[in-house]
């Protein structure tokens, strides 16, 4: 379990991370999302004890990373943004070194073999790390984090440089690890976070902008007041009729989806459900509604909205 309380990091005057609090429970995968320079890596570096915090606390399994760093670090497997690989070593001797470095008590031979198999690098075991491709290096980095089977895994962009097939494999692996590990995972790839993580924290300008499950996040901003409708009828008339409705903010019809049939993007004031009104108008004018759906927001939209500073109210810092 990871508990972060009011964690803050200043670099001179610049506040890289400002008063972040969250909790990650055992067996939970937390996605860390944010634009470049938002403070993701800084937060992860503080959690792993690579840098200190200016104020606030980070507890790993109840141990404060600054008070008892050696014990706290022994709970963590960390894959930094750039994997800490000694390129002059073979994969095998490097992992052996990490095994010793972490003072691992597990049976050496079988544990190393497990990790090598898990990360699918057993076939490059005896090659020098510098001769490996980026994808393989990344997997060696992941293997290094897994050595000693630490209960907490902190992975900074683990799928960078992998091809799509490897990405899926690593994601599946992380999902599997998430069942009995506490995992924090940062990524730029939103679909990845959506696929893997139980919960998402969006961080922007060093503060937590959103903290919820991925589904909840999209539900919260899913709106009945934004509608996509494909209506068979005269475009100008339809536009005029719908504009006349109560509470319409804007309507747009740029897309001719089928010959003579347009798709209308309609947004009403918040809280007004206009689906029935549209239906009634169409019936009155004898237009056919071919499609009518509310516009779901993907994590991507939410991310953009939040980080672009648009005025979307998302419940902040729910914590659990």
């Amino acid at each position: 379990m990871i508990e972060v309380r009011n964690l803050t990091k200043h670099y001179g005057d610049k506040k890289a991370v400002n008063d972040i609090s969250f909790t990650v429970n055992d067996g939970e995968i937390l996605g860390f999302l944010g634009p470049n320079g938002a403070g993701k890596s800084t937060t992860m570096n503080m959690l792993t004890g690579y840098i200190s915090s200016t104020s606030g606390q980070a507890l790993i399994n109840g141990v404060d990373i600054l008070e008892d760093p050696i014990k706290a670090k022994s709970f963590i497997g960390y894959l930094p943004e750039i994997p800490p690989l000694y390129v002059d070593m073979t994969v095998h001797s490097y992992l052996n070194f990490v095994f010793d470095l972490k003072k691992c008590k597990l049976p050496r031979r079988s544990h190393l073999k497990d990790v090598l198999t898990l990360c699918k690098i057993i076939d490059v075991e005896n090659r020098l790390i510098k001769n490996l491709s980026k994808g393989y290096k990344q997997r060696v980095g992941l293997a290094q984090a897994l050595i000693g089977n630490p209960p907490v895994l902190i992975l900074d962009e683990p799928t960078v440089g992998l091809d799509p097939k490897q990405m899926v494999e690593i994601r599946t692996l992380i999902k599997r690890l998430g069942k009995n590990h506490t995992v924090i995972l940062s990524s730029h790839i939103l679909s990845e976070i959506q696929a893997v993580c139980d919960r998402v924290i969006i961080i922007n300008h060093g503060v937590v902008a959103a903290n919820d499950t991925a589904t909840n996040l999209s539900n919260k901003v899913t709106t009945d007041h934004r509608i996509m409708a494909r209506i068979d009828g005269e475009r100008a008339e339809i536009l005029q009729a719908i504009r006349a409705l109560n509470g319409i903010k804007y309507i747009r019809a740029d897309m001719e989806r089928e010959p003579g049939i347009y798709e209308y993007e309609i947004e009403a004031e918040q809280g007004i459900d206009i689906r029935r009104d549209i239906n009634q108008i169409c019936r009155a004018h004898e237009w056919d509604i071919l499609t009518l759906r509310t516009m779901e927001m993907t994590l991507e939209d939410i991310f953009l909205k939040i980080t672009m500073g648009e005025n979307i109210q998302i419940q902040k810092g729910a914590g659990k």
């Binding site: 570096n45 792993t48 004890g49 690579y50 840098i51 200190s52 050696i70 014990k71 670090k73 022994s74 963590i76 960390y78 930094p80 750039i82 800490p84 690989l85 000694y86 390129v87 002059d88 070593m89 001797s93 070194f97 990490v98 010793d100 470095l101 972490k102 003072k103 290094q144």
Partner: protein, 234 residues
């Protein structure tokens, strides 16, 4: 500490540094040995030891240059600093790895001693005293070189900086001889690495000199730990 020590010793031999270091050390000490002892028919090894003192000024920074700078450059230090080991453990692991290389290098004098003992009587106690002296000087120099390496992420800068620092320490006597303020001159003479070393080569075992070299080593290793500590907290 053990893991880092073993890795570093291994890394010396997988990179070319160990071979270059040992080869240069053996070639030059061997050259002076054959000139001063074999050709001249002398069993006095003190000149060979003196050349070792000079060589270590240039060779020890080569040994220590990449120990921390390379870690910083390749971002591997992140792995070390987030592993469950203390900073002291990391620094000492690397320190003793370099010291091991140095011991391997200077221990060649025992072979020289054996060769000489075939032709005459060797003053083994003087040889041991000399050996101890170069070891102590090396122990202090390595700590300084390691400290310089922790300040930069450029190997060349670490090597050049190390050589300059060690040369300055060697030149303290020369500088002191120009200083006219008597207390300052005395102070500089007290700091002299070479004067203390020279006593050993004459067979004088001075405990204060032993402590001087050892405390230099401890002090600079402590500084190196502080460098990392400071960076973590900045």
């Amino acid at each position: 500490m053990g893991a880092i020590y073993r890795r570093e010793v291994g890394a010396f031999f997988t990179s070319s540094i160990a071979y270059i270091f040992l080869a240069v050390f053996y070639i030059f000490s061997g050259l002076f040995f054959s000139l001063n002892n074999i050709s001249a028919g002398s069993t006095d090894l003190s000149f060979v030891f003196s050349t070792m003192f000079f060589m270590s000024i240039f060779l020890i920074p080569i040994l220590t240059m990449k120990l921390f700078s390379e870690e910083k450059k390749q971002r591997t230090e992140q792995g070390l600093l987030t592993a469950p080991v203390s900073l002291t453990g990391i620094v000492l692991g690397k320190y003793f790895a370099a010291l091991t290389m140095y011991v391997i290098a200077v221990s060649i004098v025992f072979i020289y001693g054996l060769i000489l003992s075939l032709y005459g009587t060797v003053a083994w106690l003087t040889l041991l005293s000399n050996y101890l002296a170069v070891l102590l000087v090396g122990a202090a120099f390595i700590a300084i070189g390691l400290f310089v390496s922790s300040l930069t992420e450029n190997q060349v800068a670490a090597a050049v900086g190390g050589i300059i620092c060690l040369a300055m320490l060697f030149l303290i006597d020369v500088i002191a001889s120009f200083v006219k303020i008597s207390w300052l001159q005395g102070f500089l003479y007290d700091l002299s690495f070479y004067t203390r070393y020279y006593e050993f080569t004459c067979g004088i075992f001075n405990l204060s000199s032993v402590l001087f070299y050892l405390s230099t080593a401890v002090l600079f290793n402590f500084f190196t730990v502080r460098v990392f500590e400071k960076r973590r907290w900045s």
